[in-house]
Subunit: 571 residues, 2 copies
């Protein structure tokens, strides 16, 4: 929905004012819309586009060198008036005639045609190609009745590149008509947009459902389904468009995946991944793919795929540089492509080790296995705690990290590694796959402990305690958190203190570890009562009063589980 | 919310795959993220950025000539791991050292710092500037604790332009630190995003409310208010940022209005309009404003304003050209700004007229007044009918058009115009301000009638009937609609036929008009029962079964009201 406006009746005008204020280096305001603020050569065909507002970057965002000379900008989702179109065309005219192009909607056709007649009556040559790319809006036999959606971009660009390359009005018209004939789009939608001041959305799609072929103003689609997977959507879009390969197309194709507003880039890239595979599987040559927002409908959630089938002329024109407020193409200076490839993984070297350390490595493996089991058992609860305190992914992150640690530890043991190397590999696997803060901290803890285990001989209880202390120090060094910041430090510090104290007092490692785990558990529970602090260490703290910190809790759970393993190994 | 994915656990990886597939001319995939696919000069400082995924174009979309050499791309909203950052840095390194920059979040600091240490241990020079632009996340005295949001762009660009201009690592670091010191941002949010596979949004803001200072991952804000007007929001953002004008700032400032995902361009331009005024009112020199999406949070609805305070060096570096997947700056070829201004309105000439025509002009004025009254009375009902059949703006469009017609007609009469000129001005005002299809059609109808009224003498009933017939012909010529298409043609054709027939049979104009209005009313009501048709004339038709067409209804209402005026004038 639209949230910000002053007076809804003034919205379109104020939008154009703001657009021009922000883009004075490209456009200047004229009656009815905008024209380039830069100088274009006399005698060039002027390309004038336009339509209702609400589709940015269409249409004002596409005015500038390499693209339109002017854009008639109507009210929200309403055609510009005949007077507006005429005024923009007059301001854009360079003496070479005016070429109009816009999406095929009744109101736009009426007003642009009337403006064209006025121009001709005034002795200005004018011609038009309406864009009709939406395959879902009419059968192929009635292509001239189809709506124009994101395919606007290909037709506008072909026309503008031709105009700037010196084509006359007839030539520009012919190449634009060819571009339109070779442009096909297919869209889907999940929600409609709500205009400024309106009480309800322009249209709705039931939650969890997807409308197929719906137009960008809510014009009826042809079907509705449950929302498919990204790959299934890619297959739906590609298969339908490949049914309409234009005559004479030799397989060179530009895919344009257009977002309508609030279906965002990341999702579109996931869908595009599969589109690219499917186009290549179909034997096509994919050229200069576009994934982004080229013709929106406010914050409508939806996307469309356009296929633009090139020939030599259209491909040459496509490489014409463009510099407009919202669309820029063409390297500023020519760039050479690199031939580099990703560096191969470094050769793996397993340090020397002895039998005693191999036995310790088995204990390390058992410890990592119990960590995995502990996290798997508690993953939902950790996620729940983190959804109060943070972004809810602590359980998933710990799971991803611990599983990767186990895979790495098993690989090390299988290759005959000692205890240090086994735990180092586990630490590396954990921090690499978990990512985020907790992944890095667990990597530090395990790495520091590993250094004290060695790859030969068996470590003493004091060695282990020293490793844990080094790990705790590493965590506070890296993380800058202190006790009371509601992080795992709140559990780690008492754990380390108790472990060191007990070992120094002569306790066995399992006994000392058990005491330390108890201390960690008590401390972790106490984080529920700590007052929040703000700052770099924990930006989410304010939400978390009364809820224990998930990082401290998971450390206590892991410490307790490891205690059980150490006790079993001792017996 | 996120709607499209395959396996949520694979989302970030598949997103990067798709991103690279679409942008091979800019980037290539390496372990941990992407680096440029183009060749950069040996010895240049390599600028490496990064962070969690979900913020496109940050961070992969900012890799290319003029901006980053590489981006470490973590999981969704999770820092890349130390290994990922290290691997990207190694792939990006050109022998001149590695410069890291990223938003100041605990997980990112941990992992980038650890990677930096590994690089240094390997003999690669490395340095870091974290971005701390969010004024709402900590007091100015603790600027180093502030979060990084859309200010990333200014710091990254300053660093990259310096690197490509030949600065060494210390120089790049110094200029980036200066850019960060001169970059301040302030954001607001309306809704949170919902990650792939998640059951609930990351955070929520109550409907109709706005969170002030909320972070891009839902980190706590400082306040919550009702959603203000666009101008009020502009004032809020500008006033807070102007409180923190950095030392040494001379008034040159780049404003960057960033959208977080589903707050869209049109709304941002309306807000930017006022921001621009306020900055100029404050005596600042506004340079190269940016309005768009530079750092998003999936489809989160929110926006932030960044002010970047230039000095000579930063301004020079800002003009360095950039060509990346999602951000491109710098004219492909230098462009000359035009000095043209909008053509002044053509001189107004009122054609000769006589007393008889002045009297008819008064009737025309009364007719237009009654049209305005009729539409004003029925505007809500017309909107309701159109919300079933179309986009709900028929009532508003008719209101805008008829009021403009009245203003124009009054102006014509005041200047002594005859009947034809008065109605022509009304027609022109109507179609210009109403826009859309109905505006154009009413313009045609009134213009054709006007031609038959003349500016001298009084028209006969046959003249008026001929004018209406010409108007109906013009509508079908322009609009291509036929009876049965559920447009105003369904009422206009029987109106015209009845009027012509009655006049030919010798009826007075008021009597003939009354019969014709009755015929139009019956026909308009019948449109409720017509089967829908698809095609160019009425793309919304399918929704409208059982509801009369608003265009036909408004024509019938107007015809009936005019009949009353004509009858009164007769008596």
């Amino acid at each position: 929905m639209t949230r910000l406006w002053n007076d809804p009746a003034e919205f379109a005008d104020e939008m154009i004012d703001g657009f021009v204020a922000a883009n004075g280096r490209y456009v200047r305001r004229v009656t009815g819309g905008v024209v380039r603020s830069t100088v274009s050569p006399a005698g060039q065909v002027a390309v004038v586009v336009g339509g209702g507002s609400g589709h940015y970057p269409a249409f004002g965002g596409l005015v500038g060198p390499g693209l339109a000379h002017g854009a008639a900008m109507g009210n929200l989702f309403a055609s510009p008036s005949t007077q507006q179109v005429h005024a923009v065309a007059k301001a854009a005219d360079l003496g070479g005639g005016v070429f109009f192009s816009y999406g095929n909607y009744a109101g736009d056709v009426l007003n642009f045609d009337a403006a064209q007649e006025r121009l001709r009556a005034e002795g200005v040559e004018a011609a038009t190609v309406t864009v009709t790319d939406d395959v879902m809006s009419a059968p192929l036999a009635e292509k001239h009745k189809r709506r124009g959606i994101a395919g606007d971009l290909t037709v506008f660009r072909a026309a503008a590149a031709a105009a700037e390359s010196g084509y006359d009005l007839a030539g520009v018209t012919a190449v634009a008509a060819k571009a339109n004939e070779r442009t096909r789009s297919f869209g889907v939608a999940f929600t409609g947009c709500q205009l400024p001041g309106a009480d309800t959305p322009l249209f709705t799609v039931p939650k969890g459902r997807m409308a197929i072929g719906l137009g960008i103003h809510g014009e009826p689609g042809i079907d509705e389904t449950d929302i498919p997977t990204a790959d299934e959507l890619a297959a739906l879009l590609v298969s339908r468009l490949l049914e309409e390969r234009p005559e004479g197309a030799d397989g060179r194709v530009i895919p344009i995946l257009n977002g309508l507003g609030s279906l965002k880039y990341e999702e579109m890239f996931v869908v595009y991944r599969r589109i690219h595979q499917l186009l290549e599987d179909a034997g096509l040559e994919v050229i200069d793919p576009h994934v982004g927002e080229f013709c929106t409908s406010f914050d409508m959630a939806g996307t469309s795929l356009t296929l633009y089938w090139l020939d030599d002329e259209l491909e040459r024109l496509w490489e014409h540089p463009v510099d407009t407020p919202a669309y820029r193409r063409g390297a500023v200076t020519a760039q050479q492509q690199t031939t580099a490839v990703d560096a191969a993984a470094e050769a793996v070297v397993i340090p020397e080790s002895d039998e005693a350390s191999h036995a310790v490595a088995q204990t390390v493996l058992a410890v990592v296995e119990t960590i995995v089991d502990t996290i798997d058992e508690n993953v939902d609860e950790l996620g729940r705690l983190d959804s109060v305190a943070g972004d809810g992914d602590h359980g998933i992150g710990m799971q991803r990290g611990s599983h990767a640690a186990l895979t790495a530890a098993r690989s090390a043991v299988d290759q005959g590694a000692g205890a240090r190397t086994t735990l180092e590999w586990a630490a590396d696997g954990w921090s690499d796959k978990a990512g985020g803060t907790s992944g890095a901290l667990w990597g530090v803890i395990l790495t520091k402990i590993a250094e004290k285990l060695g790859d030969t001989g068996a470590p003493t209880a004091a060695d282990v305690a020293a490793g844990v202390a080094a790990g705790a120090q590493g965590v506070t060094d890296y993380g800058k958190a202190e006790v009371g910041d509601k992080t795992l430090v709140d559990a780690l510090v008492p754990f380390t203190a108790t472990l060191t104290q007990s070992v120094n007092a002569g306790a066995s490692l399992p006994d000392a570890w058990a005491s330390a785990a108890d201390a960690a558990t008590r401390a972790a529970r106490l984080t529920a009562d700590l007052l929040p602090r703000m700052g770099r260490a924990r930006t989410h703290g304010e939400h978390a009063i009364g809820t224990p910190d998930p990082g401290a809790i998971s450390l206590a759970l892991i410490a307790t589980a490891i205690g059980t393993v150490l006790a079993e190994k001792e017996n």
